[in-house]
Amino acid sequence: MAMRCKRCRGPVVIEVRRHNAAFCRDCFVHYAGQQVTRAIAKHHMLAPTDRILVAVSGGKDSLALWDILLGLGYQTDGLYLSLGIGAYSERSKQLCERFAAARGATLIVHDLANEQGYTIPQAAAQAARAGTAGRSSCGVCGLSKRYIFNKAALDGGYDVIATGHNLDDEAAVLFGNTLRWDTESMARQYPVLEATRPGLVKKVKPLYRLAERETAAYCVLKAIDYVIEECPLVAGNTQMRHKETLNQMEEASPGTKHNFLFGYLDRAAALLRRADGAELAECSRCGMVTQAPDDPAEAPVCAFCRTRARLVDGDARPLPITEVRAG
């Protein structure tokens, strides 16, 4: 028997196996918006008067998020950070600019090389030279984004930063942290992180209820042009390997990723957050918030300033990278 839309009983375009459901185009778009609305309401992520900075990469998740938030009537501007990854970064930026222009929305662009003096390919080169001793290029990329998003939001007077982390991202990060029993990182993994002190901007992940296949489908159905090619530096990274493992389990038992993540959020996250006693301080170099050093006599220096100094002052020649171009 042909599948029918769960909501309107019409012909379907997509199955969502973990909900034992399938949807037609319009009902799927409605479902995606509803999942974001539920996430926002459950965790008090956004208020109607908030000025929201949406971190966009040109990928499916962040552009779907911006589109949904605009559709829900929130006051949003986009923030794109150019990472210096050759044609891949150029194409990503171009797609963000086109998205914003088509909707009359504001896109703020920052550039890692011009503003901070290094690129992610340079970080990759240094990581290759340092072996396992240094931070990976994906690690430097994530650290740079978190720092610059927070600073840009502070400087621009935004109330909230919204990022496009989806259910798969969150499940994979939780999986990795659980394998290492990294309880400090687990304690900080939540769909909303409040601004607990001056210098920190509230951060929200309104897509955590949607799988990445669903955000990709949303973009196809809404004709949102996104970067399909993968970052040339990401191949074989740890999160990708964890996603592959989880996807194997999901195929055999739909709902595995959902139950893993939502079970953690509902039953374990609060326990870990209560036990998290990380003390915060101001970075002695840039003034941003960072973890206080164990030795009170030591001047606090944030991870971003330490990493930046290593990259800018050290040997940071870029490695040649193979660009993956759109076909």
Partner: protein, 67 residues
Amino acid sequence: MLVTARLRPPDRTVEVADVERVADLLAKLEVLQGTVLVIRDGDLLTSQDRLRDGDSVEVRFAISGGA
């Protein structure tokens, strides 16, 4: 019965014979259904949609390494 499938990323085109439905195509390609979208002429296909001889479809991977 021959179907042309363009897999991306990266961007690779293969021809697959004797597949009746999208689920058969993905099984032959050894691709997990939950990790891709299958697109024909701009329309999404479900796993149970029938394929036609001479069809060209895109098998688009929806997994990315970070947000």
